[in-house]
Amino acid sequence: MSWQTTLADALSDGVDVVAWVPDRRLSPVVDALEERVRVRILTSEEACVGYAAGVRAAGGMPAVLFQSSGLGNCLNALGSLAVPYGLAFPIALSMRGTLGEENPSQTLLGKSAAPLLHALGIQTFSVATAEAIPVLVQGALSLARGGRELATLLLEPELDRA
């Protein structure tokens, strides 16, 4: 079973809807989720965060999936909507710019992803093995639901080499 299937299984147990911006590594996750939960493809990472905040405010539980390269696009929605309003949900970031990256335009935002999130008070959890996924996703969902904290899962490149 691929890590993508494991992630889809874990998310489908507790999430009503997934909002995402396309990414090659995330595509299999979304394919596996599509029959079980609503999937919304949106035009920017910020739209995903805004959409998810609306879902959460109306009583649902969303998850958001996109590349780390798009994180900068949604800092305003995180910092002045999701975090202050306590509209919390898991975010799964497909990491670019770290181990194995060959595109120089990706490295700076990859390295900055966790520090940017930490600056906003958002916790990050590194996901480097498929075995860790169920526990991390359930923990992120509990943190979002009960703790009202956004929880970011950093989907590391090592996942692809198992």
Binding site: D16, R40, T43, A47, G54, A57, A58, A77, P84, L87
Partner: protein
């Protein structure tokens, strides 16, 4: 028409609606028009109100949902209008307060064509414009969903109480209103 009158007209047309108001003018106008009703008032996150309203509409398909948004707000993330057309929430009305300026920052002109109705129609959305409260209420009632109603606002007076809301209070009141069982 001022922004509070426009908001009041839409409230009258969608009395049980869940409203999402963008920062600034829209939030102050809706606070005034609804007597501070339990709506999702945004104090920041310019460009995210319409996306949030789609999320509310998806989650509460049995409820009428209104995005009350400024024109500058829509322009900041205009791509979301394309998502309204792609997703087509059957319960969503987008009410654009069109005054041609950025109200909360001091009224600077948008300096772009404000063709919200034309763009919406080109995207296959129901679209209409209103220049008075009577027209606004009538069109908010009759327009198909998803629909975009452009409300021409020509009164520069600030429309209501402070747009600086207390986020956890807003969230708690809205979530309670959104998840309440009808008649319960």
């Amino acid at each position: 028409m001022n922004a509070a009158e426009a908001a009041a007209a839409v409230l009258e047309a969608v009395p049980e609606g869940l409203f999402v108001a963008s920062l600034g003018t829209a939030t102050s106008a809706l606070r005034r028009a609804s007597g501070d009703g339990p709506h999702l008032y945004l104090g920041g996150s310019m460009g995210s109100a319409l996306a949030a309203a789609i999320g509310v509409a998806d989650t509460r398909p049995e409820r009428g949902v209104v995005a009350l948004v400024g024109d500058g707000e829509v322009l900041m993330r205009a791509g979301v209008l394309w998502s309204v057309a792609g997703i087509r929430p059957q319960n969503l009305l987008v009410a654009v307060l069109e005054n041609g300026s950025y109200g909360i920052t001091g009224g600077q002109r948008l300096a772009v064509p404000t063709a919200f109705a034309e763009v919406s129609a080109a995207l296959g959305l129901a679209a209409a414009s209103a220049g008075s409260p009577v027209e606004a209420a009538e069109r908010a009632r009759s327009l198909a969903r998803p629909g975009v109603l452009v409300l021409s606002v020509d009164d520069p007076e600030w429309p209501g109480p402070s747009p600086f809301v207390d986020p956890p209070v807003v969230r708690w009141r809205f979530e309670s209103a959104a998840t309440a069982v009808a008649g319960g």
